[in-house]
Amino acid sequence: MTTPPLIELVEAPISIDETMRRVEDPGCGAFVVFSGTVRDEHHGKQVDRLEYSAYAPMARAKMLEIAETARERWPLRKVAIIHRLGTLEIGEMSILIILALPHRKEGFAALEYCIDRFKEIVPIWKKEHFTDGEAVWVEGS
């Protein structure tokens, strides 16, 4: 595979359909997708909104590293990893990972690797704004 991974930090809402079109591949019959969204509560407290902040150049470098490591370990044809920054409301998508493969079998482990690794090494942080007005940076997940 020669197509570079699609790696992006974006401020606007993420569309899965549009991202699928950007990684479509006539030789691929299987797409596995992970989408993370903003939950309405954390440790029993009601969340009002989240704010995501990144060390952007390093975040992009680490997202690329994850994509390339995954492509070495599994037969992936296309990889997209997109994270949204800024303020997100409940239910909005913070992260989208799409892996395209000729056949599905190895996609599930590859997908789990990508999101697990993302949460370990990509320098992005979220600040939770609770409905009671409190706001805290989440450090570790």
Partner: protein, 82 residues
């Protein structure tokens, strides 16, 4: 040498600026020594610093890694993206 160390998330908020400027001797120009110097100057960070990684040009540095004078140095508190 003067080193500029980028700050993010809670570190940025607690320090009140987006970077630190630190004078380090040659023997202090390692990841481990940098963290010690920061702890001395900012004791309010004592609890978080053991969990902070140091990035050198967008790579995580091992404790004994040296800090090149022209590198981009950053403190990376535990991440919570995804």
């Amino acid at each position: 040498m003067t080193y500029k160390v980028l700050l993010f998330a809670s570190l940025r908020e607690r320090i009140g600026q987006d970077h630190l400027s630190l004078e380090l001797t040659d023997s202090e120009a390692t990841v481990a020594a940098l963290l010690r110097v920061i702890e001395e100057q900012h004791p309010e960070l004592r609890e978080i610093l053991p969990h902070v990684r140091v990035a050198i040009d967008h790579e995580f540095g091992a404790p004994h890694a040296t800090l090149p004078t022209d590198a981009e140095i950053a403190l990376i508190p535990p991440v919570s993206g995804g």
